[in-house]
Amino acid sequence: MAATGGSPAGSGAARPGAGPEAAPAPGIAAPGTGVQVRGVARAFGETVAVSGVDLEVPLHGRLAIVGPSGCGKSTLLSMVCGLDEPNEGSITVLDADTAQGRLRRCAWMPQRDLLLPWRDVLGNAALALENQGIRRRAARDQVAHLVERFGLAGFEKRLPHQLSGGMRQRVSFLRTLVAGKEVLLLDEPFGALDSITRADLQQWLRSALDAEPRTTMLVTHDVEEALLIGERVVVMSARPGRVVAEFTVNLPHAGSRRELIRHPEFTELRDEILSLLEAVA
């Protein structure tokens, strides 16, 4: 059980409460590998979304995927998640290669927050715990002490429409993390936010993942976001999407977002990726 060492943000604190074991913690067959994508292709009718994609994310590693819109990034992510199956190739998440198994191990967060308008902050955040069989009251109590770390203290009883966009997205994050999954799949998580809020949340996510690392795949078309959050950045081509380049990001771990984006290595990588994106689009 190597995974329990760096337990993910939500689960470590949220789990110890008793309750039925709806989602048993999966073991890990290949130590060191979080997500492995091999020769994956997916077509929708005539349209080939992705083809021949090979990717590997080490355990607790962070991979960012950038590419022109419509390059099949989101398709790739929902296949890793187990919401969709590839036509060709295989996807292994930890030790699971079936869609069911992947679903149990992956948390997926799309661009829109998709909060339930009738549930308050705690109720929304506790959704996964209730789905896992924990009673409503107990589930709320479990997420209550996580609220502060997400900058939501004092807003526990607010309904989503009473929150700002950035706060709603953080509730959505909390809801995703509380599910206690080993692998985090983020599909343009900040795409719907204004640039100030987005910058804020990028910095917040970066430090959050530094503090409690977990295997993460981030899909974005914002190159800066990819460099800030990813340890490696993969560039995909236009449809049919395939991997055209992979970069390793060597940035100092400390440092604010503002310092980082002025870092010479950062700007150099950004320009390289941007020119590559122009070439493949």
Binding site: L83, W108, M109, P110, P117, W118, A179, A211, E212
Partner: protein, 277 residues
């Protein structure tokens, strides 16, 4: 996550008392035009019946209707109102239970949906005026045929609106639920059912206005008491004032039922009012 993000981006939210007072004031303001129109109609009515020589059995004056309503209240109207109210309320409740159950069944199974939806639409083509006497033959002068007629008239808008509501959930949200370990039942219970409530209440409000009509149909087909029964008795006697008194009571009942459903909606799904005016 060691970093704590706190920020002053607290959105402004009106305090409950204040928003309540504002909504009370605005509902008074909203009711004003309706009251004005009602008064105008009443004025014209009175003028026509008093000064233009329209006979009472064609258009009785409002004051005459009112005095008949009062004088006949304890004799006939009170017990008739009670009987009809029972039929309306029980028939409506029956219809709600059946319709919501059916909607969930139709939503949950494609087979059931394909099998039952055509029947459902067909049921609305059944002429209630004709089916009511048949029901009266089968069940006699009891309350049962009235309940069936009320339920038959009311349930269609409830079923259709509830099904639409259940199907209105964002498909991406359903995918999120799957990644949050939500099985079919959890999704139905925690996502689809609450999401269907506002739409279901639209159906309930429409049905509320149909229910008194259904009760009168039922009573026309065969009854010993009720507002419909009073009307059947009064029309051949040319007691038009009594007929109008009964109609006004029925109208009031429909409005009250509508208001009751609307109040319930506000209590059950307060979030749905957000963004509505």
């Amino acid at each position: 996550m060691s970093t704590t993000v706190t920020r002053p981006d607290e959105p402004a939210v009106a305090s409950p008392q204040r928003s309540f007072r504002r909504s009370a004031a605005s509902s008074v303001r909203r009711a004003l035009p309706a009251a004005a129109i009602l008064l105008a109609i009443a004025g014209i009515w009175e003028a026509v019946s008093h000064w233009f020589g329209v006979p009472d059995y064609v258009l009785p004056s409002l004051d005459r209707i009112a005095s008949t309503g009062i004088s006949d209240w304890s004799g006939t109207l009170a017990s008739a109102t009670w009987v009809t109210t029972k039929e309306v309320v029980l028939g409506y409740l029956l219809s709600v239970v059946l319709a919501v159950t059916l909607a969930f069944a139709l939503h949950s199974s494609r087979v059931v949906r394909n099998a039952v939806y055509p029947l459902l639409i067909g049921s609305q083509a059944v002429p209630v005026v004709v089916i009511a006497p048949v029901l009266a033959i089968i069940f006699g002068y009891t309350i049962t045929p009235k309940l069936i007629v009320v339920a038959l008239i009311c349930f269609f808008p409830i079923v259709v609106n509830t099904i639409d509501g259940l199907a209105s959930v964002d498909p991406e949200l359903l995918r999120v639920m799957r990644t949050l370990d939500g099985n079919r039942w959890a999704t139905l219970r925690r996502v689809e059912a609450p999401a269907a409530l506002p739409s279901m209440f639209s159906g309930l409000r429409i049905a509320a206005t149909y229910a008194p009509i259904g009760a009168v149909f039922g009573e026309y087909a065969g009854s010993q008491n009720g507002l419909g029964y009073v009307m059947i008795q009064a029309i051949p006697q040319l007691e038009t004032d009594l007929v109008f008194a009964a109609i006004f009571i029925l109208t009031a009942e429909a409005i009250l039922l509508f208001i009751a459903v609307s109040v319930l909606e506000r209590i059950v799904c307060p979030w749905a009012r957000e963004g509505k005016r």
